[in-house]
Amino acid sequence: MNTRTLVLTWASLMLLTLVSMFSAQLGTDTRLQPLPLWSATLLLMVTGFKAWKVLSVYLGLSVAPSSWRGVFGGALCLMLALIAGGYLFAQLA
């Protein structure tokens, strides 16, 4: 992996961390309210994208066969689906 790709990946991960914090609306008053659905969705999508970047670029999964990319992508999606499902269930309960 070349230096440019590594640095660009790192920069995108840092930026997306800030996007996560922004989408979580961390103001003193807004923290007392549940997140709007768009905000929670954005947060989970950003989290999934960041995790996939680490897997594919830093861990080198991008050069692995598509079957393995599918296995790890599926495991990651399962993890996020469990979190999203539990979150929605709690909001509706």
Binding site: M1, A24, L59, F72, L82, G86
Partner: protein, 193 residues
């Protein structure tokens, strides 16, 4: 190209279905098992949150999401230095590899320092694993992750001493896995409400 020749062209010939994975194939087995274990923890957390939503929401307010975000950035930067170490060990530059590993280790220590400050503040405020279900999960999940960080730091230190391509690639993969888990753990505990 016959089957044997095709297998020899893979990153890990002789490892059967794992042959096509880069780096140490056993590290991928560990990564997959860690994802499954943490997914089970996250499912339990989500289930309990649905049962005790008011307790979870009130407890989450006592965490510092900015400090958690800073720690995320520290760990991601440490991962970048570890990736640079792999690049340089492949080039055969052992001295530069050790410098990158040292920087990765240093930022790992910063992560631990911030986490310990956070733990101390919580314990001073009387928030322990016995306070409620949220804090039981908070200490369990972050503590389990913290144990991985400590183990990773020991491995980084050992690889600075015994620097070889295989060692650096394997330990760096472990370190990225620690990053990966934190990337999911941080929004779950600190941000999602």
């Amino acid at each position: 190209m016959n089957r044997n020749t095709a297998e020899q062209a893979l990153p890990n010939p002789g490892w059967g279905p794992l042959s096509g994975l880069p780096g140490n194939p056993l590290m991928w087995v560990l990564i997959l098992s860690e994802i499954v274990v943490f997914a089970a923890f996250f499912a339990m957390f989500a289930w309990m949150r649905a049962e005790e939503r008011a307790v979870f929401d009130a407890s989450q307010l006592m965490l510092d999401p900015v400090m958690g975000g800073i720690n995320t950035m520290v760990l991601l930067s440490s991962g970048l230095f570890a990736a640079f170490a792999v690049k340089d060990v492949i080039r055969g530059d052992v001295r530069q590899t050790r410098i990158w590993l040292g920087l990765a280790l240093l930022l790992g220590l910063v992560f631990c320092g911030v986490k310990l400050v956070e733990y101390a503040a919580k314990i001073d405020a009387g928030l322990t694993p016995e306070s409620n279900t949220f804090f039981a999960f908070y200490y369990l999940l972050t503590g389990f992750h913290f144990a991985h960080v400590i183990f990773g730091l020991i491995l980084l230190g050992l690889v600075m001493w015994r620097t070889s391509r295989a060692n650096v690639e394997t330990v760096t993969a472990f370190w990225h896995m620690v990053d990966l888990i934190w990337i999911v753990l941080y929004p779950l505990l600190y941000l999602l409400r």
